[in-house]
């Protein structure tokens, strides 16, 4: 098998905030009845986490799970665990009306760290990134400039942006421009 590489192979940019592509990551799209006990068991077994509430991310000992819509979750695990996780979830959801798909190689993830990372995002998405409106373990699907993306907050104050792999270069470029020294807003802190 060929060697897997992430979209931008860990590209980084240092402006007033830091932008870094996070490299390979296991990502699984799950659709089904989020309220069912089968779904709760499948998510628990795969990630150690509970099914998240609306627009929330829950982290377990083996992975994290994010609320994407009333019938969709994104399960995040280590890249080399993704196939096993898909098999495990399919087994747990057998007989339920559900879909489990490994989308690891179809997505790219960027991490934003440093002072002003909220401003970097606020310039690009029609979302309120104020501290009281958007905190750790919140997730929001929106757009980054002209393409769809999801953003979630981490406990360490960093943000992660997930987008389609096909637009990874575009998203990296607009994040770079937004984080350029000289473009500080000093509004959201």
């Amino acid at each position: 098998m060929s060697k897997a590489v992430s979209a931008l192979d860990g590209a980084t940019f240092e402006g007033f905030a830091k932008v870094a592509e996070t490299g390979l990551r296991g990502m699984i799209t799950v659709r089904g009845d989020l309220a069912s006990k089968e779904m709760a068991a499948a998510v628990k077994a795969t990630t150690g986490a509970a099914v998240p509430a609306q627009r929330k991310v829950v982290t377990g000992d083996k992975g994290a799970v994010a609320w994407m819509s009333p019938d969709e979750l994104l399960v995040v695990v280590d890249y080399d665990q993704a196939e096993a996780a898909v098999a495990q979830m399919n087994e747990a959801l057998k007989g339920s009306h559900a879909l489990v798909a490994n989308v690891s190689d179809a997505r790219a993830v960027f991490r934003l760290t440093g002072d002003g990372n909220r401003d970097v995002l606020a310039k690009l998405a029609p979302v309120d990134f104020a501290h009281e409106a958007f905190g750790a373990d919140d997730i929001r699907r929106s757009r980054i400039a002209q393409v769809p993306a999801a953003v979630w907050g981490n406990a360490d104050g960093s943000f992660e942006v997930i987008c389609f792999r096909s637009v990874a270069q575009y998203v990296f470029d607009v994040l770079k421009v937004s984080a350029e020294v000289g473009g500080e807003v000093n509004h959201l802190g």
Binding site: R55, S69, P126, R140, R141, S142, R143
Partner: protein, 109 residues
């Protein structure tokens, strides 16, 4: 700018995150229907100056279709509601009536 609350993910989404998807509550007339019904299903649309019911999609968001009731003249939004419904919910109709007594829109009033 128009801001609508998506009834599925709860987000107050501004217009650029949404996609307008035309008139709400259309009754589909497909193959085998009368020519007149098929024609009006395809082409005939309400275009009111005032109370209107539309379909929107939270395109750059949760991806779901939903309905919105608003006034095309003042841009006042009376409410949004899920797509899995055949008519506007009573509380939204009451809100419209309070503002525009006697309003009608297709078979609704």
């Amino acid at each position: 700018m128009l801001t609508l609350q998506c009834p599925y993910c709860g987000v107050w989404a501004e217009e650029t995150e949404l996609h307008a998807e035309g008139e709400a509550h259309l009754k589909r007339h497909g193959p085998g229907s009368a020519d007149h019904d098929f024609e009006s299903y395809l082409f005939m649309r309400e275009n009111p100056k005032g109370v209107h019911f539309e379909r929107w999609r939270h395109a750059s968001g949760c991806g779901k279709f939903f309905h919105a009731a608003r006034c095309t003249m003042t841009l006042e939004v009376f409410g949004t509601y899920p797509a899995q419904t055949l008519e506007p919910p009573q509380d939204i109709k009451d809100k419209i009536t309070a503002k525009y007594p006697g309003w009608t829109w297709r078979e609704f009033s």
